[in-house]
Structures are given as C-alpha cells and as structure tokens.
Amino acid sequence: MASTITSPASADDRVSSRSIGARLLSRPEIGSLVGAAVILVFFLIAAPPFRDINNTGTILYQAALIGVMAVPVSLLMIGGEFDLSAGVAVTTSGLTAGIFAYQLSLNVWVGLIVALALSLAIGAFNGWLLMRTGLPSFLVTLGTFFILQGLNIAVTRLTSGAVASNSISDMDGFSSAKAVFASEFKLGGVTIKIIVVWWIVFVAIAAWVLLRTQIGNWIFAVGGDAAAARAVGVPVKKVKIGLFMAVGFFAWFAGMQLLFVQNGVVQSGEGVGKEFLFIIAAVVGGCLLTGGYGSVVGGAVGALIFGMVQLGVVYAGWNADWFKTFLGVMLLLATIVNLVVRRQAEAR
C-alpha cells in the first residue's frame, strides 16, 4: 500500500524492504501448493488415467470428502485447538437425521434440522468443556470421540437391529434433500458432484472470514496467545466455542452428504480415523499444530493432495495397500517443507 507518511529521520536502515518473492514465500499455504504441483506432475507422468479429464471430477470428489471438514478443522487448529471427534461426529449427524426421520415417520428435512441442532450441540459441548476444565483439547475430544463412536453403534442397533440405519430413501423430502447434498451435474463432459461446489464455496467464505473479518483476527489471536487476546478484550471463550460449533456445522453438512449419497443408509461404524485425515490436510496445508498460524486455502490444498494421491495410486496401477504409507510420507515431507519455508521467509 502507498504510504503517505514520511519515515522519521532516525529511520532504521538495517531493514531493507522485502521482495515480492519473499512475501509470497511467507504465505502459510505456499509449501502445500508446491507439494500439490509436484504430486500433480508426478502422477500426470506415472499414471496415464490421471491425464483423462473425466477423472478430474472423481479426484475433486475425493478431495472434497476430506476438504469440507478440513475447512473448520483448519480454522480450529489456527485457533489453537483440535478435535478428534470430528470424524465420528459426521457419522453421528448422518445417523441422527436418518434414524429420527425413520422412527417418527417425519419429513426428511425435520430429521436434518434435528441433526443440525445435535451437531452444533456436540461442538458447543466440546468447546464448553474445554474452556470449563482447561484440559487439553486432545483429551476432551478424545472422550467425545469414544462417546460418539459407542453411541453411533449402540443406538443404531437398538433402533434398526443392524449395524446400519434403516433407509429413508422413500420418505418425504428425500429427493429434495439429495439434490442439495448429493447430486451431480455435467460441466463440459466432466461429472461434478455438488459437494465439490459446496466445498469451494465453503473454502472461499472461510478464507474471507479468516483474513478479512474481526472474527478471523480473533481466531489468529486466540491460537497465537490466548492470554494476550483476552487482555485486549477478545472474547476467547466465545471464539473457541464458536470454532467447535463450526466443526459441528460442517460435520452436519458432511453427515448429510454421507446419508444422501448412500441412498439414505449410514453405516454406524463409519468415520473412525477420518479425524486424522482432516488434521493431516490442515497440517499439510501449513496450519501450525500449536495454533496462531495457517490458512484455510492451505487446508483445501492439503485435501486436494489427499485426493490426488489416493486416486493417483489406483490410476498408476499400484497396490492400494501402499496408500497409507504414501500418506504418512507426504505428511512428514509437508511438515518439513513448511518448516524450512517458514524459516526462510522469516529470515528475509
């Protein structure tokens, strides 16, 4: 920005202005962007089906499945916390909507609203318990993780007698809800799932909130130094509880996608282990595990890397057993690249 202020006579001339390159390098998501580019080129060469434009929609779909949840998980991580219950909370939400609508023979949308209320309540509970006890979020959400995992299976078996919820595909409101959460359309011959569109919308909104609003400034502050934030009047508790509720909202959205993409049936054991994929996406995207630094766009790029690797391994004709190993290597590489890049940027 053009400054109208003339610098004081005693200006410190030890500091030279930074080049555009240095500024670009100091963005949190730059490491993940470089990584994504490398992986893209690698699979374009190694896996011929990867070059097929029709598969782009599938890759984006894989990325979006993780990416939607990586949005709030990135925000939460920047806010200094993380949520191990995020994976099973998605299943809980899908099950709640399905079971509630089926058992009471209500319109599907009523089930959706009940599930939304429950998801927000779970988030609020996580946040409230965290702020109330002062325990690390690792422990609090680990507790919620087991509680929800148990409830998912127990309540499903109680109501349906099986490990999956009863199908709600023939109930009122199913087709309209499916259109919102799990439809697809053609764009220039490529089949695009609607969740990919939602994902991009969510990333854009969340990135704007993080970088361009007061709430965003507060998220950085509570993650960077909660005591400092509180001292200048930032409502730390509200921000953190709000972040957990954001995770709840997105868990609801992902849960609805899960419900409607599988024709109204949700497997109660689903979602375990997903929480780590969300965290990996955020960390690969440059979010600092200790909070105060990171980006939503980075989290999205992290999810994109996940999608590319998962399908790239298949397209390259390799044994898919190797996927997790590949993912682990990716995580380590990404964190090292982030570390190096950040040190480089700070040194300039």
């Binding site: 920005m1 400054s3 109208t4 202020i5 610098s7 004081p8 005693s10 200006a11 410190d12 500091v15 202005s17 930074r18 500024r23 361009r212 609003t213 007061q214 965003g216 400034n217 507060w218 950085f220 502050a221 960077g224 130094d225 005591a227 400092a228 934030a229 509180r230 001292a231 200048v232 009047g233 930032v234 409502p235 600092l288 105060g292 630094y293 700070e346």
Partner: protein, 285 residues
Amino acid sequence: MTTTKSFADEASASPNTPIVMLEEIGKSYGSIHAIRGVSLSVRQGEITCVLGDNGAGKSTLIKIIAGLHDYTSGRMSVNGEERHFSSPRESLDSGIATVYQDLALAPLMSVWRNFFLGNELTKGPFRQLDSATMKRIAQEELAKMGISIPNLEQPVGKLSGGQRQCVAIARAIHFGAKVLILDEPTAALGVNQSGVVLKYVVKARDAGIGVIFITHNPHHAYLVGNHFVVLKLGRVALDTHRSEITLEQLTTEMAGGSELEALSHELRDIDAEVVVDTAVEEDRT
C-alpha cells in the same frame, strides 16, 4: 459506552482528582493474602511508580485494576464510582489500559493486526476489515512516537523487545486510555532500549494520561516518577511524593534497607579476602 463518556467529562473538568483510587484493597486466594490494605491513587498527567521485589504483590495489584481478578476487601473507585471489574473489557471501557510484561501481543500476528486486536476497524455491509486504514493509522501512531517499523506485515515476534513495548504503549494511547498501567516495561531491556521506553512513558504523561509504572528498578522509577509506592510482602512499606525522597533513600527502601546491610556484612565476611586478592592479581598483571 456511558462510563467512558462520563469519565472523560469529569476528567477534563477537574484534572487533579484521582482517576483511579484504591482504598485498603486486599486480595486473598483461599488462606493466602496476596495483598493487604493497599491504597493508591492515580491522577491525570502523573506517574505513580509501584516498586517491590518479586512476590511483593505488584502483579496482583495490576491484575485487580486491569480487571483480570476481583478484589476481596477494600474499595476501588474509578472516576469516583465504586467498581468491581469482571473482565478486562470492563476495565478497558473505563479507560484503563494495561501493557503487560508479556506484552499481550500475539507473536505470529503482524504488527498492524496486533495494533488493532480487539478494536478492529470494519467497513461495508459485511463488516470487512478495513486493513488499508488500519495500516495507515498504525504507521502514523508509531511514527508519532518516533518508532519506525518499515514493514507492518512482519510478525510482532520479529521485533526487538523495546519496539514491542512501544507498539503496546502506542496502541494503548491510541485507543483512548486515560490510565496506563505498565508492568515492568524495562525489565528485560538493555540500557538504550530502556531509555527509549522511558521516553514514551514521559510522552504518555505529557499527553495527560495517568500512568502506573510497575518496576523493581528504583533508578528507572526515580527518572520519571511523581509518586512512589513500595510494596513488601503484600503491604505498603512506603508511600511518598517525589519531593520527600531522594534516589538513595528510594534505592535503600526498595532493596530492603537494613536487610541489605546485614546481607552485605555477611557477604563481606565470607568473600572479602577473595575479592581483595583478585583485585590485587589484576593490578599486578
């Protein structure tokens, strides 16, 4: 904010009435009395220095005024009105700004974001941050205090200790503080940087702000202070005006007076010969 307004009115009407007044303030944590019967007043354009050793109760005192803790006995009045602050926000809204030892700056956030943290400017129907204006104001305010930070986008963690203090002080003044609490602003700084910070303390005083300057350095206190309060084990050990005390007396009082004398005798008994020997050795070479 009605409190802020009435406060400003009264402050301008009678510049010498205390803005903040503590009477016999006490704070207990269960059976531990952190401070007992502490009285203190802050006036516009005056620097009140609070001195004391570690654990004397300085931190507890500022936490009460800053709204981080409530007091358990006595009376605190701000602008003539008895107040119990339940959050730092209330204290801020009453015109009291605190610059903490750990500075209350988020190290990974940029200078301008820190400057406006908690008081962000927004524009438009979506309440978007007005970053251009915020950067301009931050630059101007820092320039007014003679601080030059070429790149406001750099994280606060990259600034020197003195620069960080000055950013925090400039921020407090910009947001209309009538009372500025400085918690050991020179404790971790070198001689030059301490001088810079003390200059800003004086500038703040000249701007009509009432300053509470917490320190354990009597030299720094005596350079700028109008009034001195020495705390010892949670009680007021000395409460005097500048005209009634010399630097030597203040230093002695602060250092523990007779206790220090006893200590120096003790040390002399143990180490006297060693010290003398070394000096002699050095002379010879």
